[in-house]
């Protein structure tokens, strides 16, 4: 695996070809904007194509090198189509951010099998399909910009500790160990691909799905914040900055690792 060649005077992910799933909103949109501002060519995928188009519209304010695609991450044919499109347009792939995910969940004894399966399909199987597609697309090839490729899987603090969201935690815990196994495999094969997981705590996005009018939701939210040492949730940009670090060559020696951005939630 290559030694670091970091030029801090230039854009931190200049000319890297980046796929961001779930790029139409929340962490995905903030990441698309931040990486594009740092010189990346960003491909935004989302199951909601209108949301993806809106993100790309925002990116076009400062770059033409962006595009979007409708994608169900749990569908492997969609991954084939996405990779084919990216490779035919850009010739290679540098970074994949497996960000798409859903948050429906609840306690074990009330979880219906179909809800469990939907969460596992999108959050875990979708990530697996993405990791597999990216490794097959990148393999042992060296990127034209000579740096290592990076796959970033968005897990959660609930991929590290339990917390009353049984299917979500099971899926995100799976993402944590999928990441380590795939990272060890790539390193063993001598592939120049780093794979890490990122674990946000509470983030101010639509997934939090808080009804500001509902006093029960407000109470639940206040109780959650009371458990976060920093006493607040993260803004999407604070997660995007961690993704930028993992996407850039600054994290050249990190693979199979966990980047926890949770305001101290799991430190307690």
């Amino acid at each position: 695996m290559n030694k670091p060649k970091v030029d801090h005077l230039s854009k931190r992910v200049k000319d890297k070809v980046v796929i961001i799933t779930g790029g139409g909103s929340g962490i995905g949109r903030a990441t698309s904007l931040l990486l594009a501002q740092h010189g990346a060519k960003v491909i935004v995928s989302d199951i909601d194509i209108e949301a993806a188009e809106e993100t790309v519209g925002q990116l076009r304010a400062f770059t033409d090198e962006t595009m979007c695609l409708e994608q169900d991450v749990a569908n492997h044919e969609h991954w084939d189509k996405l990779l084919e499109l990216v490779l035919s347009r850009y010739g290679h792939l540098d970074v994949l951010v497996n960000n798409a995910g859903i948050g429906i969940s609840g306690e074990c004894r009330h979880t219906r099998l179909e809800d469990w399966q939907r969460v596992i399909d999108i959050n875990l199987t979708g990530t697996f399909l993405g990791v597999q597609a990216a490794i097959n697309a990148i393999g042992d090839r060296i990127s034209p910009n000579q740096s290592s490729a990076s796959i970033i899987n968005i897990s959660s603090t609930y991929g590290l500790v339990g917390g009353g969201l049984v299917s979500y935690s099971a899926a995100k815990g799976g993402v944590t160990l999928l990441t380590k196994s795939a990272a060890a495999e790539c390193a063993r094969l001598g592939y120049n691909i780093r794979i890490n997981s990122l674990h946000p705590g509470g983030v101010n996005t639509a997934m939090a799905n808080i009804d500001s009018e509902d006093p029960d939701d407000q109470t639940a939210l206040q109780e959650f914040y009371a458990r976060v040492p920093m006493g607040r949730c993260a803004e999407p940009i604070e997660i995007a900055q961690g993704i930028l670090f993992l996407a850039s060559d600054e994290s050249s020696y990190m693979t199979g690792s966990e980047l926890v951005i949770d305001g101290g939630y799991t430190a307690v």
């Binding site: 695996m1 030694k3 670091p4 970091v6 801090h8 005077l9 931190r12 990441t179 380590k180 196994s181 990272a183 060890a184 390193a187 063993r188 001598g190 705590g201 976060v228 040492p229 920093m230 006493g231 993260a234 803004e235 604070e238 997660i239 900055q241 961690g242 930028l244 670090f245 600054e250 994290s251 050249s252 020696y253 990190m254 693979t255 199979g256 690792s257 966990e258 980047l259 926890v260 951005i261 949770d262 305001g263 101290g264 799991t266 430190a267 307690v268």
Partner: protein, 269 residues
């Protein structure tokens, strides 16, 4: 880019290895440096290099296990630069010896530098940062040997000190968060790094150590310095009490490929 513009950083053990790489990187990003080391000449060399390139840096002799040493360092930072924003508790020692031949004095020497030193540093830095009324970031350099011995024998005191440092980090982060202090405290756990600390290893031991890193090499100091920069900067504004493992995959799992293959139907015989 100036990711640390006008920030003041204290880096212990700044005269060599990870500390020196961190000082250079921080200076490139606009920080003013107080480079401390038990070896003043080494710290002075780094400070002079930074000044030679137009940066601001001061070197100071510093035994991190001494309480009065820390008070002098913090007051020097205050007098020279007017504040402290960043502390990198990097100074550390590793003495390889079997547990049964480790005297209490040997044990205390390792704890004195690796754990007492970091504790006093965290305490004094929090005081200085609160006085400045600016946000602060403290980064403790632990080790993957603070998670597991990694199969290396003869490092009991080192492993124990680094494990302690990880939980000192989390406890300090919790306290700062709960009290509403604008100070984040995090740890980095490097795997093997190409520094003087590995000079005690024989060629064979070094080759074995490189081989146990899935990426096939040890880290260069700048690999670690880049993670320290992320934690020092405002980019990591929601990161506190975290442990960043920067180990080339050592803790991710199987390395050599000689583990048993499993067929789709279950484990093979």
């Amino acid at each position: 880019m100036s990711r640390l513009l006008d920030k003041v950083a204290v880096v212990t053990g700044g005269g060599s290895g990870i500390g020196a790489a961190t000082c250079r990187l921080f200076a490139n990003q606009g920080a003013k440096l107080l480079v401390t080391d038990i070896d003043l000449a080494a710290a002075q060399t780094i400070a002079d290099q930074i000044k030679g390139q137009g940066g601001e840096a001061v070197a100071m002799h510093h035994d991190v296990s001494s309480e009065s040493g820390w008070i002098s360092v913090m007051s020097c930072a205050q007098q020279t630069f007017g504040k402290v924003n960043i502390l990198v508790n990097n100074a550390g020692v590793c003495v390889q010896q079997d547990l049964i031949s480790t005297s209490l004095q040997d044990w205390r020497k390792t704890m004195g530098v690796n754990l007492d030193g970091a504790f006093i540093g965290v305490r004094e830095a929090i005081k200085s940062m609160l006085a400045n009324k600016e946000s602060g970031s403290i980064i403790n350099i632990a080790s993957v040997n603070g998670l597991s011995s990694g199969g290396i024998e003869g490092c009991a005191s080192y492993c124990a000190s680094k494990a302690g440092l990880r939980l000192l980090t989390k406890s300090a982060a919790l306290e700062c968060g709960r009290k509403g202090y604008p100070i984040r405290v995090n740890a980095i756990c490097p795997g093997g790094v190409n520094t003087a600390m590995n000079q005690m290893l024989s060629k064979e031991e070094l080759a074995a150590k490189e081989k146990c890193h899935p990426v096939g090499r040890m880290a260069e100091p700048v690999d670690i310095a880049n993670s320290i920069l992320f934690l020092a900067s405002e980019e990591s504004s929601f990161v506190t009490g975290a442990d960043f493992i920067v180990d080339g995959g050592v803790t991710a799992g199987f390395v050599s490929g000689d583990y048993p293959e499993m067929s789709a139907g279950g484990a093979s015989e």
